[in-house]
Symmetry: D2
Subunit: 342 residues, 4 copies
């Protein structure tokens, strides 16, 4: 099988990671790579690590350019995907790495993104209960946000198994590539290195409703979520520390069993052996997640820590994983299973 893939928004970090992964995917032929203001420049100017395609010229992000591909990846700022997706043929597989089609609730969309809801596509986190089935043969796929990926992998099994009270607290530190390539003073290397800083505190981050959606679905009841993101001095990686009050009678054994059950067959999720804890370095460049669970009996809380690479399992790797499902390929096709460490 050989499918031809275009990437809209190939100059950014998500686009670059898509390219890195697709270059070693055995069934993908790269088609058009597009950009907005960077159209006309080469891949090498934006992604010096992608030596094999350094000389490929980025084209403008237009429908003409994006048509006639089997797959179109959208790695655009939110608000831009709907228009493109609507005019691409229904049989073209469109995979949106942006937020536009993630939320099911138009009211939540409007509140958090101050614009009209574009719609809801199958949600690209196959490890969530029921999600994989909707992705098989799908032609429209919404790739999850990076924080929701980490947080949902961490807490969904506890909610699915009925072990946690519907009131979650999530603190997730992220490498700065999560903020994209936008030129903002607080993202300069000199500001970022050697510093930890908070932002979007108090439930202000737009990934909050997506986390609520996922956990509520797993719990089958509304879950409230306190989510705080932290900017940490590393290029890639999210470490999410997640907790919720344990329901009466929960034991560590029950908890571990629930996670073992949830992830036993999942190729990309590694539930660590006891006494080992996730580190983002272990997932660098890999489509994997490391998970560990604990029961704090004094505080009565379930605590789960998840580590992912925000650009791989958190964005582009998930997109390729979903493409594999859409194409009927083995889910791990072309995806790195080991991190680059140390």
């Amino acid at each position: 099988m050989c499918v031809r893939a275009a990437i809209a928004g190939a100059s950014g970090y998500a686009g670059g990671e898509l390219l890195r992964l697709l270059l070693s995917h055995p069934h993908i032929e790269l088609g058009a790579l597009t950009a907005a203001s960077s159209a006309g420049t080469t891949v090498g100017e934006h992604h010096p690590h992608l030596a094999p395609i350094a000389d490929v010229v980025l084209q403008p992000t237009t429908l003409d350019v994006l048509q006639n591909h089997d797959v179109v990846f959208l790695a655009l700022p939110h608000g831009h995907s709907g228009e493109i997706a609507n005019v691409l043929p229904a049989e073209t597989i469109v995979i949106d790495c942006g937020a536009d089609f993630r939320l099911a609730d138009p009211v939540a969309w409007k509140r958090w993104y101050q614009s009209d809801h574009a719609g809801t596509w199958p949600y690209g986190l196959p490890e969530l209960p029921g999600a994989r089935k909707q992705l098989e043969k799908a032609t429209r796929i919404a790739v999850p946000g990076c924080y929701p990926t980490a947080a949902s992998l961490a807490l969904a099994p506890a909610y699915q198994a009925g072990l946690a009270e519907p009131d979650a607290v999530i603190v997730a530190a992220s490498g700065t590539s999560g903020a994209g390539k936008s030129l903002k003073p607080h993202l300069l290397g000199a500001e970022v290195m050697g510093s930890l800083s908070a932002y979007g505190v108090g439930g202000a981050h737009r990934h909050t409703p997506e986390i609520i959606q996922n956990l509520s679905q797993a719990a089958d009841e509304p879950v409230t979520v306190s989510f705080t993101p932290v900017l940490a001095p590393l290029p890639r990686g999210i470490l999410a520390t997640c907790s919720a009050l344990a329901k009466p009678g929960v034991t560590l054994q029950k908890l571990r069993e629930a996670y073992a059950d949830a992830y036993r067959e999942e190729p990309f999720v590694q539930l660590l052996p006891e006494n080992r804890w996730p580190s983002t370095a272990a997932t660098l460049g890999a489509n994997t997640a490391q998970i560990q669970v604990a029961l704090d009996e004094d505080a009565g809380r379930i605590v789960v820590v998840a580590a992912i690479d925000n650009l791989t399992k958190g964005t582009a790797g998930a997109a390729v994983q979903c493409l594999n499902l859409a194409l009927g390929l083995p889910e791990t096709t072309g995806l790195p299973m080991t991190g680059v460490a140390p």
Copy 2:
């Protein structure tokens, strides 16, 4: 005034930071600097940043060496301070940077440190309600742990003002100097850089009972605490993200007022203006803390973020601040009020 100060444990990170601060303290004359296995080596071998005293030779940590000083700082592994403190004269000011005299409850001590309780000394966090008074003219002082400093500065005002439910969740990321100079594989630069990792999850970190003690005292009722530390890729700095359910009727205004009241007169605590968030870089090498508060109305939680330098306000700076109080000096004497940034 000129007081003569010894440091027991001068080769470690806490000892080095004490030296850095004391070198620019106008009323301190350095006396004996001691070490265990490093006795006989020079300060320059351990602390190349301390150029003015590079040639000073470290002496063994014995009573003979430590006697005859006005002040003795103890920067030793826990379990070693009691023996020394007991035989130093009552009028010698002894300031323990270790854990030995922090906990009031012998049962908690035994549970967390598996040894006999050495006692309880005035607790060196002057910003806590009632604490400053006990430090004035004190001759025995227990310097708080670095995580408890950050967490307590973050949440004590909310508890003191009766705004928060007695169930706190704290996730605090720390630079690796917090783990000291111990030669462990996971602290090697190649492991640490570019990685975030969890440890002591599920309430297993020894700073937990100290946080509980401080918050319970502020709340005047028992507070349960879920505390998770995170190892982050920076040498210094703690960013603590702390939250608790808000009591009924709490508003953002009430919350800000409580913090403004608590810290209005505090020289080292900076309650940030709205929409600005703490960063550890802003406190690097300074005895300051940056605090910001938020009210997440959806989740019903108070969220407070605190940034400190774990070696300065988190350890050695607090020790000097307490010394100033013990000596009746202005509290800020010799202490940096600005961070080194970017």
Copy 3:
């Protein structure tokens, strides 16, 4: 003594470091702080580490604002200092942290900066032979570039003592604050962290003629210089590795003696004991330089390594050091002698 100091360009990194240092200088009262596009904003928005003056509002960089100060520091992009300096009274001490008045040769200026030469002021590296005298009571001072400071401290004594052939090779790695706060993609944290990159290779960096000027003056003959800067993943710090062929008969002993002679009385230069090597961390936030020398007998080369903080000894600290000389104060007044490490 109390002198009133203005800073033009207070929102940038050099301006911020000047502020940090001046805040603890016992004879300075801060006057006007100015900025270009940031006029009207507060210091706290640009420099969150400068808590004590967080609320001070930046004024526009105009002559009106800058007049009526005893000292005016200029921390502006090159090409802007001349105009301001020309209209300030002759008795006002003007200290330019930019490049405008560093080069003595108008031809060199024109070649490297493509503009008219503004003139030549006393050169603010007191450790160079003959330099200190010109700075005492000076009212116009050109602060050296950061790379030239490191390279000149490293090699000037060898040239001064006639030990090195006039053909120097300098490779200097710098933290990214050296590139200022300009919003360029390659300075984003995600690009910088975990990466070393070259730039200005082949003698293309504008600091080259300044290094040539300093070394040629020390050698009393023209010295050619191959200078390569490297961008390294740290906020601050320059490590300059400098070498030149040894003249016949040079021994390690002669070499060490030359450096010991050159720096014996220098408060800010630390010639390290044998077998110890400079690290930038040891100078972080300090106005110090660490130097070590070696003689590679196989290669016949003198190798000297210098470490400084590019913002302190490399810029703002040097400016304050020169101010002290201009005012007749002890040269170390208000300047940190110890780094912040680890």
Copy 4:
């Protein structure tokens, strides 16, 4: 084809990188993985990034264990490879990642390693003139040191083409994984992050004779080398800045042509387009090298900068590249051609 490979020294960084690469090599089946003091522990304890083999137990490094493999990789401290290699069958492919068999000159070996010379094996840098041929079908291969790889790729073409005087100056900054997993205080994260430091200055680093050997062979005359390594705050990556006086008549065009000729057919070496400069991030985890050349006409020097990942092209990737040659496979089999960036 399926060959069975053992790794002696699998718990270290070189061993871990070999494992990462071999896990995605289509013709390799992993056999015994051995360690010294870590025998009996699992791969997961040492290499949390290698999820697929986390549970594999390390065996002791004995002949019994290493026998009966088609390939044996040795990732041992120098001095340990000879004994093992001597008793393995001649038809077993033995690939030594250590130094033991790199130097041709027993005198140089003895001088730099203070022990008896074990011998000389085909040198595993196929990009050097004449080297590839000796590696095809080889059964004993000496993998180059990481610094010599970067320095030789940078300067060999200039020497080969007769463009450079035989007097090279090399300053190479390396990530800290290059120092291995040894538990030394100066390699702790808190010491390394935010700091650049020199070591082995003045020609003291053991990679010096290897660089001399390579460049002298390329030049066909003795080349003296001044080599200074720098420890930089990143886990992986070497940036080597290399220069030599240009021979009379050298132009930039001639220089670029020489490098284009040398590397046109080399799959792993990327000679960058003009005005683009190497960065280590672009090679992270890849078996690639980025090279750029410049001619500094003022200084009369050729300046070449090379970036590699010290663990991949600098060690384990080179080992696999050589294995491919030894097996008659396409040289790029199983080797990453793109870095993991940002």
